[in-house]
Symmetry: C2
Subunit: 421 residues, 2 copies
């Protein structure tokens, strides 16, 4: 790892709308992640407005610090947008029509049945010393410069256009030009355990990791991602080393791992349901449809999602879902007895292999001494048994909805993987 | 407006975890918005890592450009965190124990039943020339400096701690120190019309706005926010002027306005349902629970949300929701006839005043020539009539789910406000 001269990058976002807080700059964050993956070190991120002096001074200071300067924004055809003329000025060259770029813009508009305006044509005029990088998803081309001993790349600010240019063009080019370290990443996705408990379970394993394999904890709502990053000179070897480490890690936290890399919890659920040939239905009270929403964001979920009932009042828990009035009266809607009947009955109603339910006090009001805000019961009914779990969550309604959904999906996962106690 | 000397600010975010893309910097965006509201002009945002040279050079260049430098992050008690010692170095002063700050940290830990460690105590040591600003929600104090002719404020990187310090302390202090313009903001929230159509409807009104009232279009999924910003010397007068302009605007786009300022569409729906004393139920097919989720994120929604059925297959549209098999066979699940029966039947099932339904092809697969991906039917059943609408959306599954939800909530709004054709 130390054999490599560190390659440094600066990310420059351009646009008044960013500085004034009208648009959140998600581009710089995404670019940071992509550069980190290939071992380029981001040393600074800067955001400036549509202002000549600001942009030129940002060019100057970035040039001093970085080997690579990646820019987004300021590429529209109107007078507000200054990136292109200022790059030409900074590199002391002219702006001329690039026929290839004009053809691309022409085709872009033709496909959409729209007329090419004078302003659109201007987008095909580029600084003479740049390499034209086609933008298949929009009209502002990418511009790649090798000037003043640095690599400069200007990209449009529209996120999906920028991402495609980065993925298809910029990252491969950077890998070719710079002697970057070989890097192998693996993300282990866990659910159902907090960061500090997880850290405690794996502390000996972590202490014994070789120095060229780094571990990062990336917590989010009810989940923790563990990211292993290995640096070396041979990706294949790194992959083998990381997989060896995973073999040692797995038995320590097997119960909490639901997937690897990009897979989301709801995608993992889909994969497991298909694997086991099972389908599901939900009876959602306090989660209000959020579990069903998560599951149905996954393409192909109609293969295993039968449907759901959201009975937001006792009356409907009884007359639509068949929860007995005696149970509701005696134990209340937020009780183990109620979620058992909800899960078992929704399973029958939708003729599904598995039925899951939630009932709780999402807040901010509705809590009692016995059942404070954040009290939630969940259940998972299968053919031969029904499992339940009580959750004690937070004071925050949105958080309680989200954490309930994660807990229900995790209970479903444990049932499918037969990892419940 | 031009009578005021522009007050300039730079926002500085400090932390390796930001540069490497492990954490998204939402702080800088939020601070941008808050400064914009009080008429402070953000001229640059910079993100640097936990690195001595980077942080010092960021101080230097911010000092050259801005009157106010707001910093977040790098305030933890460990050696990685450099903001405090570097501020002391930059302003040439010592770091000493502040008894008031120690007492605050002690109480913070006492309340949580935790022991004060040596590292925690270090957080009460501050540069001698700063004003100590208590952080009620965490252990890293705010530090306010008036040095080198500028205002410098260092805040913790934890968003809710930073926000409370900004709102309670920083914004009021800045308003006191700087002769800021009086500003009045009003956001008009519209739904059901695209940005360019909206712009066309109001172009004459926009052209006649006085120069000290600015208009911004802020589009998001299926919605466009119009933000009016008035600058002057008397907030009361500005408010009256803006309200006068709104009176002229309203008749032009009345049908599309659902609320003002912070109110979300689902909150507006809640307000209207309560106002009219009505309640609702949903039959969600392609939206998969997302409409119910949006509605139930609003505190108190149990007052008007009865419940929902998500029948993800024809079988359940029939045997749970009572859609006739003949209708499903003849017209298909994605048809006007089906969504009418879904809406009318879910209304009866949940004894609700209004029933709404969605059925469509969310994609990415399942489209046909006749009904391509993105084809969605929605319906709204009331006591005396049922309205329907056909949507032709996108190729993107997530987008189709979100746009369907916005369209259904908008149809409900129009029914409640009796603004349907």
């Amino acid at each position: 790892m130390t054999n490599y001269k560190e390659v440094k990058a600066e990310i420059l976002a351009i646009g008044d709308e960013l500085l004034y807080g009208q648009i959140m700059d998600t581009n710089s964050h995404w670019i940071s992640q992509e550069l980190d993956k290939i071992g380029v070190r981001v040393v600074r991120r800067t955001t400036v407005g549509d202002n000549r002096e600001s942009i030129l001074s940002a060019f100057e200071s970035a040039e001093k610090r970085a080997d690579i300067i990646l820019m987004t924004g300021g590429l529209g055809p109107t007078n507000d947008d200054l990136t292109k003329p200022l790059l030409a000025e900074y590199f002391n060259c002219e702006i001329k029509l690039v026929p290839e770029a004009l053809e691309a813009v022409r085709i872009f508009f033709e496909r959409r049945g729209r007329e090419l305006t004078h302003l659109n044509k201007l987008q095909a005029h580029l600084p003479t010393n740049c390499t034209y990088i086609p933008n298949e998803l929009g009209t502002a081309p990418g511009m790649w410069f090798h000037e003043k001993g640095k690599i400069w790349m200007s990209m449009p600010g529209v996120p999906h256009e920028m991402k495609k240019l980065m993925t298809d063009q910029v990252i491969p080019r950077l890998k070719e030009i710079f002697p970057l370290p070989h890097i192998y990443h693996k993300v282990i996705k866990t659910v159902g355990i907090g960061e500090s408990w997880l850290a405690d379970l794996i502390k000996d394993w972590e202490a014994n990791l070789p120095p060229h394999i780094r571990l990062a904890y990336l917590p989010s709502l009810g989940q923790v991602r563990l990211r292993l990053t290995a640096f070396g000179s041979n990706t294949k070897e790194l992959e083998q080393e990381v997989e060896q480490e995973l073999k040692k890690l797995n038995p320590l936290i097997d119960k909490y791992i639901y997937g690897y890399n990009q897979e989301t919890l709801e995608e993992a659920i889909g994969r497991l349901l298909k694997l086991h040939g099972k389908n599901v239905a939900f009876a959602e009270s306090c989660s209000g449809g959020y579990i069903s929403h998560l599951v149905t964001t996954v393409p192909g979920s109609s293969d295993y999602f039968q449907g759901a009932i959201i009975p937001y009042h006792n009356e409907f828990k009884n007359n639509i879902l068949g929860v007995e009035n005696d149970v509701l009266k005696k134990f209340g809607a937020v009780s183990e007895e109620t979620v058992i009947q909800m899960a078992e009955n929704v399973r029958k109603l939708f003729r599904s292999d598995i039925g899951l339910s939630s009932s709780g006090i999402a807040g901010p009001s509705g809590g009692t001494d016995e059942k404070p805000v954040g009290t939630v019961w969940i259940a998972c009914a299968m053919e031969k048994k029904t499992l339940t779990k009580k959750l004690l969550l937070t004071q925050d309604r949105m958080l309680n909805i989200q954490l309930t959904a994660v807990a229900v999906l995790n209970l479903l996962r444990l049932c499918l993987e037969e990892k419940t106690e």
